[in-house]
């Protein structure tokens, strides 16, 4: 979003790319995973929850975060995988709260059993952190109606930046589209409510782009509120 008061109503379209950086720490069992989580770089937690949206992954993964997937496929601990898999990182305004939730769930699981499951040496959990590079595309929107035509042409990085990454950047924890539409008073309240219903966590970014495009076309493309 453009912070210049003179251009308050202008939406600056940005884009981003993630670099994945291995931090050199790995876990072979649940206790090691817990120990690493206590002080691992917060960028790692971000990457293992959200990074999947922008890196090679299958369109319909069984689990939506790397911790749950590892619990299932390396530790073969289905109950733990289910508990970790249900965590929605969008529910946590700051990364530290998400870190604590992870640790709580893992400690609960450790308390439940006196066994210690080990992953095979070639299936260790490798901590990776994200480095986000954002840049200005030079595109500017001055009217919400433009979203209907522009969103289908945006890169996946732009969609990620404005709809997913925005929740981490702003104090409100909402996407950039809703923040911008709010500047136009209550005119777009219904559209903002519909945007709030889209959960980016369970769909790929390409699907998210299609859903957003469809929503903007329904609300803005027919000469209605636009």
């Amino acid at each position: 979003m453009n912070k210049d008061p003179r251009q308050l109503l202008t939406f600056a379209v940005k884009d981003c790319a993630l670099a994945a950086i291995a931090v050199g720490r790995r876990a072979q069992n649940l206790r090691e995973l817990r120990d690493h989580l206590t002080d691992i770089h917060p960028g790692c937690i971000y990457y293992h929850f959200w990074g999947g949206l922008l890196r090679p992954h299958f369109d319909d993964p069984e689990y939506n975060n790397d911790f749950a997937s590892w619990a299932r496929h390396a530790l073969h601990d289905a109950p733990l995988a289910e508990r970790l898999g249900v965590i929605d990182p969008a529910d946590f305004p700051v990364m530290e709260a998400l870190r604590q939730e992870l640790i709580e769930i893992i400690e609960e699981r450790l308390d439940e059993g006196d066994y210690q499951t080990w992953a095979r040496p070639d299936q260790q959990f490798h901590f990776v952190r994200a480095q986000t590079i954002s840049f200005d595309t030079g595109r500017r929107l001055t009217r919400p109606a433009e979203l209907a035509a522009v969103v289908p042409t945006l890169s996946l990085g732009s969609i990620f930046y404005h709809f997913v990454d925005a929740r981490r950047r702003g104090p409100q924890g909402v996407d950039d589209f809703r923040t911008w539409l709010a500047l136009f008073g209550d005119r777009y309240d219904e559209l903002r409510a519909r945007l709030a219903e889209i959960d980016p966590y369970f769909i790929g970014i390409a699907t998210l782009r299609r859903q957003l495009a469809q929503l903007f076309q329904e609300h803005l493309d027919s000469g209605g509120t636009a």
């Binding site: 790319a17 670099a19 950086i21 050199g24 299958f58 994200a130 480095q131 590079i133």
Partner: protein, 413 residues
């Protein structure tokens, strides 16, 4: 004239290309040098053939340099390759001296280019020692390791780490492949170029002609493995899997197609083992193809019902990506980068033994509808994740990141 990037837009989408142009804008004019040890043969040379022109088209002054050496040098670096993948390989002082002297000699020849570059990407161990000979360098040096370093033979890794530690960053294909290093370790899987002869669409008549050339019966099932004749690719295990499956599918044909790489002195010995294992079976076709037989490999991949890549160790396995791009499911070894590409039961099957491969061969040839569905999924999976545009984007991201420091977020405005 249409540019390479425009051509890519037709496959990957215009949004992807616009994204690349904007990400590359801060790097305009940057002098970028890639260095490896062979111009032809092997996955690294193929990647650079495509990556370097694309970087030029994005405004960088990119070039590709190849170091050369004698037989001792290549014997040493082949030893490195095997040792880094876990084999116990003892390298004599004479071979190590050949390695060091070859790097010193090549550093002298390339000094001006390397010292002035803004970014130098050094691929694999062969040229890794160049850095030590260019103390007055101005740019960022990145070691790109295409090898699975998860379980290296320690004495050899210890020797090479002494050279690699001095780099500003390194790149590995997967986190599992990486070793701890005193600099940022970036993770970038490799990719394929869908526009090259190896991956472009072919007319059916051309595929038929290749079948005819190699005496392959179009009426009978055909499975294929494309790889160097290298023990880590387990070509003998593939023949064993074929034999187990052929007991149930008498018409089955197998093609083992291997290219030679100029930096692989063991290829001949492994090829001899493969021919011995084939025992003159007329349905086992062992093809030693020249390094530029890209169209032939393309046609063979398209002619096959599906593809095998039964590696015991694999860096990434670009032949898997290539086959999947052609809509072929892959029966792959449960190792390395094959795991990232073969999603079990979706884009193919991961196997650990010849017996496992034989079982899946029989299954796929019996369940043709599953074979077709998995092939479709495989192609889309590659389109979204393993085309060259994605790798290029991650290279650009790394270059911008290295220029701006290691903070979590870099806002270019």
């Amino acid at each position: 004239m249409s540019s390479l990037l425009d051509a890519y837009a037709g496959v990957a989408g215009p949004d992807v290309i616009r994204h690349l142009r904007q990400l590359a804008a801060p790097l305009a004019g940057a002098r970028v040098v890639h260095v490896n040890s062979t111009r032809v043969g092997g996955g690294v040379a193929e990647i650079l053939t495509d990556l370097v022109p694309l970087k030029r088209e994005l405004g960088m002054d990119a070039r590709w340099e190849v170091i050369g050496g004698g037989a001792d040098f290549y014997q040493c670096t082949k030893g490195f390759h095997n040792a880094l993948q876990g084999n116990r390989v003892e390298l004599s002082a004479a071979l190590l001296r050949a390695y060091e002297e070859t790097n010193a000699h090549n550093a002298e020849e390339l000094r001006a280019v390397l010292a002035d570059a803004d970014f130098v990407f050094v691929h694999d161990p062969q040229p890794a020692a160049l850095l030590r000979h260019i103390p007055a360098r101005r740019g960022k040096w990145v070691w790109r390791c295409h090898i699975d370093l998860s379980h290296p033979y320690r004495p050899v890794w210890k020797y090479l780490r002494g050279y690699v530690s001095g780099y500003d960053a390194s790149i590995f294909s997967l986190a599992d492949f990486a070793q701890p290093l005193p600099h940022p370790v970036y993770l970038i899987p490799p990719s394929i170029n869908p526009l090259t002869e190896k991956n472009m669409e072919l007319e059916p008549v051309e595929i038929d002609a290749v079948r005819a050339t190699y005496h392959l019966d179009p009426a009978r099932p055909l499975v294929l493995q494309v790889s160097r004749f290298d023990r880590f690719k387990d070509p003998v295990g593939v023949i064993r899997a074929y034999r187990l499956a052929k007991a149930f599918i008498p018409g089955l044909q197998l093609v083992l197609a291997g290219g030679g790489a100029t930096d692989d002195p063991e290829g001949d010995a492994v090829l001899a083992e493969v021919r011995l294992a084939a025992q003159d079976d007329p349905d086992v076709h062992v093809l030693l193809l020249p390094a530029d037989a890209h169209r032939t490999i393309n046609a063979l991949q398209r002619a096959a019902d599906f593809v095998l890549q039964k590696s015991l160790r694999e860096g990434f396995g670009l032949t898997v990506t290539e086959a999947m791009w052609k809509g072929k499911p892959v029966i792959g070894g449960d190792t390395g980068g094959i795991r990232l590409q073969v999603v079990n039961h979706h884009t193919g099957y991961l196997v650990s033994t010849p017996e496992g491969a034989a079982l899946r061969i029989r299954y796929l040839l019996q369940r043709r509808e599953r074979l077709q569905e998995m092939g479709r999924k495989a192609r889309e999976f590659v389109r979204e994740n393993f085309l060259l545009t994605r790798q290029l984007r991650e290279h650009l991201t790394l270059m911008v990141g290295l220029t701006h420091g290691m903070q979590d977020r870099i806002d270019l405005g």
